[in-house]
Amino acid sequence: MSQINRLAEGGLINRSKRLKFSFDGKEFEGFEGDTLASALIANGVSLFGRSFKYHRPRGVLTAGSEEPNALVELRSGNRLEPNTRATTIELFDGLAANSQNRWPSLDIDVLSINSLMAPLLTAGFYYKTFMWPASFWEKIYEPAIRRAAGLGKPPEGFDPDHYEKSFAHCDVLVIGAGPAGISAALAAGRAGAQVILCDEGPRLGGRLLSDKEYINDKPALDWVRDSTLELENLANIRILRRTTVFGIYDHGVYGAIERVSDHMAIPREFSPRQRSYRIITKRAILCSGAIERTMVFGDNDRPGIMLGSAVRTYVNQYAAIPGKRGVVVTSSNDGLSTVETLKKNGVQVDAIVDTRNGDMIQHALGGKRVQAVQIIDKNGKTREVECDLVSISNGWNPSLHLTCHLGSRPVWDENKNAFLPGKLPSGLAVAGAAQGRFSLQEALYDGIRTGNEAAELAGFDPKQFETPSAEPEIFDHRPIWRIKASKGKRFVDFQHDVTDLDIELANREGFKSVEHMKRYTTLGMATDQGKTANVAGLAILGEVSNRTISEVGTTIFRPPYTPVTLGALAGHHKHHEFRPTRLTPSHKWASERGAVFVETGLWMRAQYFPKYSGENWLDAMIREVKGTREAAGVCDVSTLGKIDIQGEDAAVFLDRIYTGTFSTLPIGRVRYGLMLREDGFVFDDGTTARLGEKHFLMTTTTAGAAKVMAHLEFCHQVLWPELNIAFTSVTEQWAQYSIAGPNARAVLETLIDPNIDISNDSFSYMACKSITICGNIPARLFRISFSGELAYEIGVPNRYGDALIRALMDVGKKYGLIPYGLEALTTMRIEKGHVAGGELNGQTTPRDLGLNKMVSQKKDCIGKHLSERPALLEKNRPILVGLKSISGKSNLSAGAHFLDIGSNPSLDNDLGHMTSTTYSPTLNCWIGLGLLKNGRERLGGTIRAVDFMRKTDVLVEICDPIFVDINGERLRG
């Protein structure tokens, strides 16, 4: 029979909507409005899972997000989500969940034998048991422990759903929509403030949904309904349901997760599974209520033993009866309302253990379900009472977790027997039970008061209105932390299987500080952060060390309040969308030609252009280098950073940031520039062209573009704000191609407008000018060369980039023009001895790179003084040399270290390292650049290049770093 424990009427469930679901493969039925836990309870299920360490049978303890026991695997395949709390999963049609941490089945779990090994598994057992031999750890202990312990298993594949990140802004953020939260939102909303009201559940009301209370002498649910309507109709109020505010950050920033689609089988089209918010607010009000405490007695973890608030929630909100015969244990008046609820709904209450009268529960009996409890009365007489449900009410812990997130510790209150919020983060107020003001009347009052205050502090005018009235409640609570005289294990932290004896042991072994005890026993370190456990643990530590709870103190809570899916924090920033991708102006054209691309920073650059399908990178590179050096090649160099610098003091500024002098550079000329960091090491390099008296165009390396821009801005705004200059990044504005090779000029001459002369005489090496091409299209031409060939860079406004590359290839056909990629570019620059990333590694000075002639001795510049520190001038500092493989055939690898032939590989014998390598089609052998001690003196010698990572050991000849055209005849030709 289905739903045997469902009441015939009542509850906030939609009985007209039946939902089918399965648990461990067994089919069940529930109603819309159920949680997985309430639907299973309605179907008579009480066993939900096995515990972490001892594999003890566990049921449901709570009805909320604080649940330590009822963790299940939700969904299947790549949507599988482990460790999901059955108490917060909203039921949907087709829901499939499985219990976890059991084998072969929930009912018969072989590893429950761990219970018998309990003496071995006490606090600190990892530290004590698995000390030696060390080699056993990885091979034996760790895999075995991982199999046996732990919670659910994550899916293997990628999550098919998507997640969103979002910002939200408001004047007043209200966290929690119970009586206090609803009142606060109403007050702030009526005053006109922009309000965001968040609640982790799907409906507003908080405890009013599960306790039959009265407001203004009418059922409290009427007030909830009317207030919800008003809130929904106020345009300045935004209600975020299923949204947990999980953390507080500096300056009024709150982290929240909205579970947009978790209550559905799969998300609706175009809708994310979850959305993470960064909420920025002027004021916030914490109305998160309180969490009931458990009691530490023998075998207190047996399924069927539940918190009183959970019992009332299942009965009143879900019309699901968690048992037929109940025992109610209470240390406050809360238990009495549980008794009333149970009796009204036909559950027999066989015993009421009111500890305030001196009665006490000793231990529970039963295995997979509680069958009886042993009670001892004030006269010491014991009796056994049969039951299948035990309700525990032992006071409340205010949900003050968020108040701790910026470092403040809660303070113990002797009267309330609870920790209350300590110093509050700026801008935050706390209302109702979260502040230890547990009655409904206090919640309503606090809500309105804090709502009004927050609105006023945010600059609004609060409206006066009356606080609704609630029935008086008498607060009379004397907590019972543990019942020592009992049989069986007494659990404090259910999720991590921490017992009171573990805490005693920790204390005995010297872990008396609360922080040490926590880490030694792992109390409160499970996914529930000990929401139901911590305070009892502190009380027991106090008891065994003769300290009060306030002397023991407490650990603090950290974000997140409840577990957060990492995917929701990443949003769309995953896989290829982790960061933006930048495409060059010729990208479309290059893709059409079948180019192979490589990621360089954010850019996708053509690595090589295979001539036929399957041509490998080496063959393609060799062909492209030869083609360029023999005829002509074109390469997209738009990725290089371009910074436009203008102003009266532009030249002075460049003199200060470059090692060379730019104030002497004539208009229409380009100069190579080297930039240092203030500590003297090379920062970046590139060419700068003078386009006018007060106008320069700087190029940077592709990787350095952003940091050079920030550096220039720093130098101007922070160091020399008196200089009259301005600069703009124009990297994206110009498409730029390098055309290199003996036929480069001939190719260009067919494209440029007829009146323009680019002959060697009128446009020599390192010249630049603004020209027009293809009939009045503006362009900039620079005669600069990275390859060492006769070469030009031509820049056109970005929108002409695609057309230009096509035009170039078209007219270039008869001159043998081919496209070349990054591989060929790199090979040609190494052949030419130009330094790049491998050499500009942040540890090299101009002198190390053989560029000391680039440092003007007539002026200061950034980094000049410190580049001349004594240690950087030492004779044996590694300096730039060229290296040639003696055999020619052996691969050289960047990163290989240099050693003298016959010397041992040791730090003392290390002579430097290889920074860049390539196969040189021009020299027909492997070559490289490297930094070698006393490099100049060793020219012509032979050393070993040893790479233990790639297992190579190659003899190399030391040579000049310029391998090709040492006198530069080609590039000047």
Partner: protein, 92 residues
């Protein structure tokens, strides 16, 4: 964290990049002990636990370098102004 930019107003931390201590004056390159002064300028920091002056770049905003007065223990921010303005004060 929220940082006020004197040009753009209050903006989220992720729009900014942090550099370090503000108020350091680049030494006179002509000084006789210039190398020592540059060493201190580059490497020696107060590393205050408490209220500090820091340089931030509004990278994804107006690209102003700003000086922020901030308490490193509480993260409280007291003021922010253009670095170029504070320097003009410094050299007055």
């Amino acid at each position: 964290m929220r940082i006020p930019c004197p040009f753009c107003g209050e903006r989220d931390l992720q729009e900014y990049s942090f550099l370090g201590e503000a108020g350091l004056k680049r030494p006179d390159p002509e000084a006789s002990d210039a190398q020592k002064q540059f060493h201190d300028y580059v490497h020696i920091r107060k590393n205050t636990a408490g209220t500090t002056s820091e340089l931030w770049l509004h990278t994804y905003g107006c690209r102003s370098w700003i000086v922020v007065q901030r308490n490193t223990l509480t993260h409280e921010i007291f003021s922010s102004e253009f670095a170029s303005d504070t320097l003009k004060e410094l050299t007055k």
